[in-house]
């Protein structure tokens, strides 16, 4: 179990069992692949592990990020017409370099293809698109680096 007996907690509480959380147990379950052990992402790690984002909800992504030390809150975008959710990072730095993540079910502007957009401190923006390039509408001026589904071999 993730708990162990402790002494010193609730000293004056008669009959109460005393436990403290074994933080190491929870900290050991970290997501791998797209993030480094410090929570850093790079164009290479996102490109290589783009599958990580497909089908994931904002809640699932935020949960994984929190295992790596990110402090996040999830907001609904007041601006988008879709049900896009925004994961906002409050403690980003040069290691935990994600500032925001936008999880979009797709927008009419781009042809209703779901995507996840990742903003970083120094590496710019990345967009992992859950579809083929041929179905995605763009004006070619997007500043984000786009990653489409890989062609099946």
């Amino acid at each position: 179990m993730g708990m162990k007996a402790s002494s010193g907690l609730f000293k004056n509480t008669r009959g109460a069992q005393q436990y403290e959380l074994d933080i190491q147990y929870f900290a050991s379950k970290k997501p791998e692949g797209v993030y480094s052990s410090t929570g850093h992402v790079s164009p290479k790690s996102i490109s290589k592990n783009r599958d990580y984002y497909y089908g994931k909800s904002a809640e699932e992504i935020a949960e994984d990020m929190e295992k790596l030390g990110y402090e996040t809150s999830i907001r609904v975008s007041s601006r988008r017409r879709s049900k896009a959710k925004i994961i906002v990072v409050v403690n980003y730095d040069k290691h935990r370099n994600i500032t925001q993540v936008q999880v979009s079910p797709g927008s009419k502007r781009h042809g209703d293809i779901p995507y996840v957009k990742i903003g970083t401190t120094q590496s710019g923006k990345f967009k992992v698109i859950d579809g083929k390039q041929s179905g995605y509408k763009t004006d070619g001026k997007e500043k984000a680096k786009l990653f489409f589904r890989r062609k099946q071999k």
């Binding site: 609904v76 601006r79 509408k137």
Partner: protein, 147 residues
């Protein structure tokens, strides 16, 4: 022609009015609508939204039973006071409102006058116009739901 007034509303349809008030107005105007509820269960501050999707291409967004955003997509008899309307070439809209600025993160055009435009990448025309309450400009402020 009906005019969209930023931070105010559109004719009788005023921002911050209740869902019932807007439904009454739609029924009075004999406009059909569908109701959609977004539960927003996976966000930190959980407040469901209700959308009234009117058959004339206008969608009304509510939270806390208050109208916070009006989005016009197809209605041809609706425009901003400066004349910008859905279907107008974006190049014309940016001449009318020189303050329009493309927001790369949100992928839409924002005006300092208090509205957002979406452009259609197939036609290069205005695809939608949104007006909203002032708190919606800042997602953080908006998501506190203290309005």
């Amino acid at each position: 022609m009906k005019y969209l007034i930023p931070f105010v509303g559109m004719g009788k349809y005023k921002l911050l009015q209740s869902t019932k008030r807007i439904i009454d107005l739609l029924e009075l105007d004999k406009i059909d609508f569908e109701v959609e509820v977004w539960e927003n269960e996976d966000v930190t501050n959980k407040f469901p939204w209700t959308l009234l999707k009117a058959s004339n291409g206008i969608t009304f967004y509510f939270a806390k039973d208050k109208l916070f955003k009006i989005v016009v997509e197809e209605a041809t008899d609706v425009a901003l006071e400066n004349g910008i309307h859905v279907g107008m070439p974006m190049s014309e809209a940016t001449k009318i409102d020189v303050g329009l600025n493309f927001d790369d993160w949100n992928e839409d055009w924002e005006s300092p006058l208090g509205y957002w435009l979406e452009d259609d990448l197939d036609t290069n025309n205005v695809m939608s116009i949104s007006i909203f309450i002032k708190e919606a400009i800042d997602d953080e402020e908006f998501n506190k739901y203290e309005w």
